[in-house]
């Protein structure tokens, strides 16, 4: 039996440096609601369950179909996309919403995912093709390779994997699973492979691949089912070979 009312507990925070507080809301149930439509409902009339007037809850979203990662937050304590968090699939009782804890809070449920984007720059997660003349078409990729690479290319830098990784935190230098997996992707690309050693160099420092502790939480949490831990095994192999080659002077 669908619920009549939806109760929400939301962790609010007015500014990046402010302190946080809990607020409770109760809104009427409608068919096919997701967490974002609940937040929109609250926005229409921002009054808490206790009848107190408050500010509309702030959140970030864009694609509304689980491909941009912007709406990621802790729903009932688990990191996931709020746009695909359907109310009717959730257990009874209040729904708890909190911002991700591993990224700086901008306001309420919105966080700044910039650390991930910066890390993508550090590991050179791209294929450099700029130049002064047309390089012509690149080499072909086998269908099997394309399929595996496609899995990695689905990463939407949502941060779920970073949130659950015990090695990614404020007292560790680890750059986290998502950027590392992109090294696996671009090093497998027929053209990207030409710069593979640059990406390997980038992840062989402090905070790089050796700082992963194999807790494998990341792969459990990834909504895109990206085989992150396979990437780390592969990167372990690539970096080891690269290291030995440089040690013995290739």
């Amino acid at each position: 039996m669908p619920r009549q009312k939806i109760e929400l507990r939301i962790r609010r925070q007015d500014s990046p440096t402010g302190s946080s507080r809990w607020e409770e809301f109760s809104i009427p149930w409608q068919p096919s609601m997701n967490v974002i439509s609940c937040l929109m409902e609250i926005r229409k009339n921002p009054v808490t369950k206790q009848g107190q007037k408050t500010t509309p809850v702030h959140w970030e979203s864009s694609c509304l179909e689980e491909v941009c990662g912007a709406c990621t937050m802790l729903v009932n304590g688990k990191p996931r996309q709020s746009c695909t968090a359907l109310v009717d699939n959730m257990p009874d009782g209040p729904i708890t919403l909190e911002p991700l804890t591993k990224f700086p809070v901008v306001r309420d449920l919105q966080v700044d995912r910039k650390p991930m984007f910066e890390a993508l720059k550090i590991v050179k997660a791209w294929v450099p093709i700029d130049g002064t003349y047309d390089l012509g078409p690149g080499p072909k990729m086998s269908a099997a390779d394309a399929e595996l690479n496609y899995a990695f290319s689905r990463c939407m830098t949502c941060g779920c994997c970073m949130e659950v990784c015990p090695q990614y935190n404020s007292h560790s230098d680890f750059i986290g699973p998502a950027p590392l997996a992109q090294v696996r992707l671009f090093n497998a690309h027929p053209t990207g492979r030409m710069n593979a050693h640059e990406r390997l160099d980038a992840i062989m420092g402090r905070g790089g691949i050796v700082d992963c502790g194999n807790a494998q939480n990341c792969v459990e949490a990834c909504p895109k089912e990206i085989p992150l831990t396979e990437a780390f095994g592969d990167l372990g192999r690539q970096t080891t070979v690269h290291w030995l080659q440089s040690l013995f002077g290739k």
């Binding site: 925070q13 500014s15 990046p16 440096t17 402010g18 302190s19 946080s20 304590g77 804890t101 700086p104 809070v105 901008v106 700044d112 910039k114 650390p115 910066e118 720059k121 550090i122 659950v164 015990p166 090695q167 935190n169 404020s170 007292h171 560790s172 230098d173 680890f174 750059i175 050693h197 640059e198 160099d201 980038a202 062989m204 420092g205 402090r206 905070g207 790089g208 050796v210 700082d211 502790g213 194999n214 807790a215 494998q216 939480n217 459990e220 949490a221 085989p227 831990t229 396979e230 780390f232 095994g233 592969d234 990167l235 372990g236 192999r237 970096t239 080891t240 070979v241 290291w243 440089s246």
Partner: protein
């Protein structure tokens, strides 16, 4: 060795970005201090903490991983082998211990093959453990248990190894005692010490067993999900087998070791009686 051009470029970019952060951007960007129990000291530290191409760091971590298996892991196997001699009685164990002491260059072998690697692995291991933010309570996946227990067992081992060697290898009474077996057997009469040995042995077996799983991934020996699953199973099997052997050798010192006839060699009699003598000393 001068840095490669690529390293220079990457470093330069890191510095430029750091300058950028130090200048206007970081001040105007209000996300610098993050509340809510989050100890992000500053936003910029988080971004650029990674020192690109810090090869020494890579080498140290590789060495940490390697020393866990060779020589420390190998030493644990040898240690269990010698301890299991206690199943064959007091004389067998004391002979085995005396034989070890007769290894050529024994002091050097011990220092370079055991003490130095353990000290190195221990110090770096403690440092590694401090970089973790355990979250078993929130995410209780099986692998997360393994990860957390790897760190917990490591910390237990610090205390265990220090205590265990202090009570034996560095104990004047032990070194001068006529029977090493009797000395240890006597110590184990205290339930507290016995329990401590059980915890220490289980920690060491877990740490080596599960460590093999981490080793296999860190060195890229297993990459596919299936291979990693098998590595994990093998690691758990190693933990169980090592634990049984380790605990049984401990029991041997109390005269309660189990030495099933199933496992004795059919021609064992040729090399002297291979019968359970645990209680006969």
């Amino acid at each position: 060795m001068p840095p490669r051009s690529n390293e220079i470029e990457v470093r330069a970019r890191g510095i430029a970005a750091r300058e950028l952060l130090r200048g206007g951007w970081s001040e105007s960007f209000a996300c610098l201090k993050v509340p809510r129990g989050l100890r992000w000291s500053t936003y910029k530290e988080r971004h650029f903490a990674m020192k690109v191409s810090d090869r020494n760091y890579f080498a140290l971590k590789k060495l940490h991983s390697l020393t866990g298996v060779v020589p420390i892991g190998l030493f644990l196997l040898e240690h269990f082998f010698t301890n299991s001699k206690a199943l064959q009685g007091e004389t067998a164990f004391n002979n085995a211990a005396a034989e070890l002491a007769r290894i050529p260059y024994v002091g050097l072998v011990e220092a370079a093959g055991i003490w130095a690697p353990i000290a190195f692995h221990m110090v770096l291991g403690v440092l590694i453990a401090t970089t973790s933010q355990a979250n078993l309570g929130k995410h209780g996946y099986a692998k997360n248990w393994q990860y957390t227990l790897q760190r917990v067992s490591g910390i237990v081992l610090v205390f265990y190894i220090l205590f265990h060697t202090w009570m034996t290898r560095f104990d004047a009474n032990y070194l001068s005692s006529p029977s090493a077996y009797a000395f240890v057997a006597d110590q184990l009469k205290s339930p507290g010490i016995f329990a401590f040995y059980v915890v220490g042995i289980l920690s060491a077996c877990w740490h080596l067993g599960n460590g093999l799983f981490g080793f296999a991934i860190h060195w890229g020996l297993v990459t596919s999900r299936g291979a990693q699953r098998n590595a994990s199973r093998l690691a758990m099997a190693a933990f169980i087998v090592l634990s049984l052997v380790g605990i049984n050798s401990l029991l041997a010192f109390t005269g309660r070791g189990i030495y099933p006839d199933l496992l004795t060699k059919p021609h064992g009699a040729e090399h002297g009686p291979v019968v359970y003598q645990g209680g006969q000393h």
